[in-house]
C-alpha cells in the first residue's frame, strides 16, 4: 500500500513552502527533513524536553506534538527566524552568547523560541517569572542558572532597543501584544 500524500502550504519565518507529506509527518520532521531547517532540534519526541519548540501563530508549541498537516496554513517561526533582518543576532540569541546560556547547544533552539515569545508577552519579567518562563524546557548541560540570567539580559537588551526592537515575531504573525 502506498501512503497517501497531502499537499500542504507551510509558512515558515514568513516564507511560504509547498510540500507533499504523509499525514503522520510530525511538524518537527517536516521542518528538518522536508525543509532542511535543522535549527529545530528533536530530543524526546513526546513533548517533554522542549528542544523542538517553535512558534505556531506566535505561541510556543512543541513541533514534535503537531502534525505538519494540522499546521498547514498557519504561521510558524523557528529559531532560524529569530535573527535580525540584517542577519545579526536577535536580543535573546545575543543574551545567550553573552551569559554563556548554552554549552552543547542541543536544547538552545527551544529555549530561544520560548523566551522570544515570553518576553514579547512579558517584557520585564521578575526573577521568578524568568525562571517560570523556561520551566518547561530541559537542559542537561548548563544547570539553568545562566539561562535564567540570559532571560533577564535579553529583557534588558530588548528594552535598550526601544519599541522598534520589540516588534512581534519576524514573521509579524499578528500576535496581539499584551499590555
Amino acid at each position: 500500500m502506498t501512503e497517501q500524500l497531502h499537499e500542504i502550504r507551510l509558512t515558515v519565518n514568513g516564507a511560504a513552502h509547498e510540500l507533499r507529506v504523509p499525514a503522520r509527518r510530525l511538524l518537527s520532521d517536516a521542518l528538518r527533513h522536508d525543509l532542511g531547517l535543522t535549527g529545530t532540534h528533536v530530543g524526546c519526541e513526546h513533548g517533554v524536553c522542549g528542544a523542538c519548540t517553535v512558534l505556531l501563530d506566535g505561541a510556543p508549541t512543541r513541533a514534535c506534538l503537531v502534525l505538519a498537516v494540522t499546521a498547514a496554513d498557519h504561521e510558524i517561526t523557528t529559531v532560524e527566524g529569530l535573527t535580525e533582518p540584517d542577519g545579526s543576532l536577535g536580543p535573546v540569541q545575543q543574551a545567550f552568547a553573552e551569559c554563556h546560556g548554552l554549552q552543547c547547544g542541543f536544547c538552545t533552539p527551544g529555549f530561544l523560541t520560548t523566551i522570544h515569545a515570553g518576553l514579547r508577552d512579558n517584557p520585564s519579567p521578575t526573577h521568578e517569572e524568568a525562571r517560570e518562563m523556561v520551566a518547561g524546557n530541559l537542559c542537561r548541560c548548563t544547570g539553568y542558572q545562566n539561562i535564567v540570567k540570559a532571560v533577564e539580559r535579553a529583557a534588558a537588551l530588548r528594552q535598550a532597543q526601544g519599541p522598534a526592537g520589540q516588534a512581534q515575531g519576524p514573521a509579524g504573525q499578528g500576535q496581539v501584544e499584551r499590555s
Binding site: 499525514a23 503522520r24 505556531l56 505561541a59 510556543p60 512543541r62 506534538l65 503537531v66 494540522t70 518547561g136
Partner: protein, 279 residues
C-alpha cells in the same frame, strides 16, 4: 519512533467530523494532540483515520452562562486559564489549570480534550466531577449532555460513543458562600502529579476529588467528618494504587496530607468569598 500510517481529514464542521467518525471504526478525533500525538509516536495508538477538528469554526469560545462557564472544544488550556470570566465564575477551574503541564503544552492542548481523554492523572476530569459539570456531545444520533458522573468508565475510557465529538463542557459556577481549593504533589514542577486533590466546601457540605490516586477520577463526600480525621475518612473510601511513580503507601500518605490542606484552604476561601458577597 514515528507514528504508523493513518488517513487524515480536516473537518470543516462538527457534522462533517461526526460523519467521518461514523464511516470508520478505527477513526479518532485530533484536537490539540498533546496526549494523542505522543501515543501515536510511541505506537500505543494506531488509528486508521484522524479527524482533525482544529479548523472547525466556533468551537473555541469560553462563555459565561446562567449556571456556569461553558468551554468550547477548541479552547486551549492557556485561553481558559487566562480568562477572567472563568476565574470569577468558577475559580477552581483556574486553580487546577495552573497545574496542567507547562505553558507550552497549555498553548496547544484543549481543556475539553483533556476531559474526554479521561486520564485519572489529569487535573480537569476530577474538577468537572467535583463540580457536577457536564460535557455536551454531538454524534450521528444528535446532541446529548453527559453528566461528569456518567463520563468516566475506566482508565482512559470515557462514555462517548465512537462517532461522538465533544463540543463543549460546562463547569458550574461557584455558589455564593462556597469555597474551593486545589493542591497536588508532583516530582517536578509541571509533571503529572503523584497525587492531587480538589475541595469544594458549601455550608456544612465538604467534598474532595482525587487525581492520580485511583484509576478513575474519584470524589469522596467528607461532610460531618472532624478535621483531624479527614485523611483517614477519605482513605476508607479510596484504594490508592501502586505504579512506577509512587507506592500505594506513599500515595495514602499524600492523600492524608492533601485532604487536610485542601479542605482547610477551601474553608478559608469560603469565608473570604462570603465576606466579598456581603459587601
Amino acid at each position: 519512533m514515528k507514528p504508523a500510517p493513518f488517513d487524515y481529514v480536516r473537518a470543516a464542521s462538527v457534522a462533517e467530523a461526526v460523519s467521518a467518525l461514523a464511516g470508520d471504526p478505527g477513526a479518532k478525533v485530533l484536537a490539540g494532540g498533546q496526549s494523542l500525538v505522543p501515543l501515536l509516536s510511541m505506537r500505543l495508538a494506531a488509528p486508521s483515520l484522524l479527524v482533525d477538528i482544529n479548523e472547525v469554526p466556533g468551537l473555541a469560545d469560553v462563555t459565561v452562562e446562567e449556571t456556569g462557564v461553558r468551554v468550547g472544544a477548541l479552547a486551549r488550556h492557556a485561553a481558559v486559564l487566562d480568562s477572567d470570566d472563568v476565574r470569577r465564575v468558577q475559580p477552581l477551574v483556574s486553580l487546577a489549570l495552573a497545574h496542567v503541564a507547562h505553558a507550552t503544552i497549555r498553548n496547544r492542548g484543549t481543556t475539553v480534550g483533556s476531559l474526554v481523554h479521561a486520564d485519572a492523572a489529569a487535573e480537569m476530569p476530577v474538577v468537572l466531577r467535583l463540580l457536577g459539570g457536564s460535557v455536551e456531545v454531538e454524534g450521528s444520533a444528535g446532541r446529548r449532555t453527559i453528566a461528569a458522573d456518567d463520563l468516566y468508565l475506566g482508565p482512559l475510557e470515557s462514555s462517548l460513543a465512537h462517532d461522538e465529538v465533544a463540543v463543549s463542557a460546562l463547569f458550574p459556577a461557584l455558589a455564593p458562600g462556597a469555597g474551593v481549593a486545589f493542591d497536588e504533589i508532583a516530582r517536578r514542577h509541571g509533571d503529572y502529579a503523584m497525587a492531587g486533590a480538589a475541595a469544594l466546601v458549601d455550608g456544612d457540605a465538604v467534598r474532595v476529588g482525587y487525581l492520580s490516586v485511583s484509576d478513575v477520577p474519584t470524589v469522596v463526600d467528607l461532610t460531618g467528618v472532624p478535621d483531624d480525621e479527614l485523611g483517614e475518612a477519605a482513605l476508607a473510601r479510596l484504594e490508592p494504587m501502586d505504579d512506577i511513580h509512587a507506592t500505594a503507601t506513599y500515595r495514602a500518605q499524600l492523600v492524608r496530607v492533601l485532604t487536610a490542606r485542601v479542605v482547610a484552604a477551601a474553608r478559608s476561601h469560603a469565608a473570604a468569598h462570603d465576606q466579598q458577597e456581603a459587601r
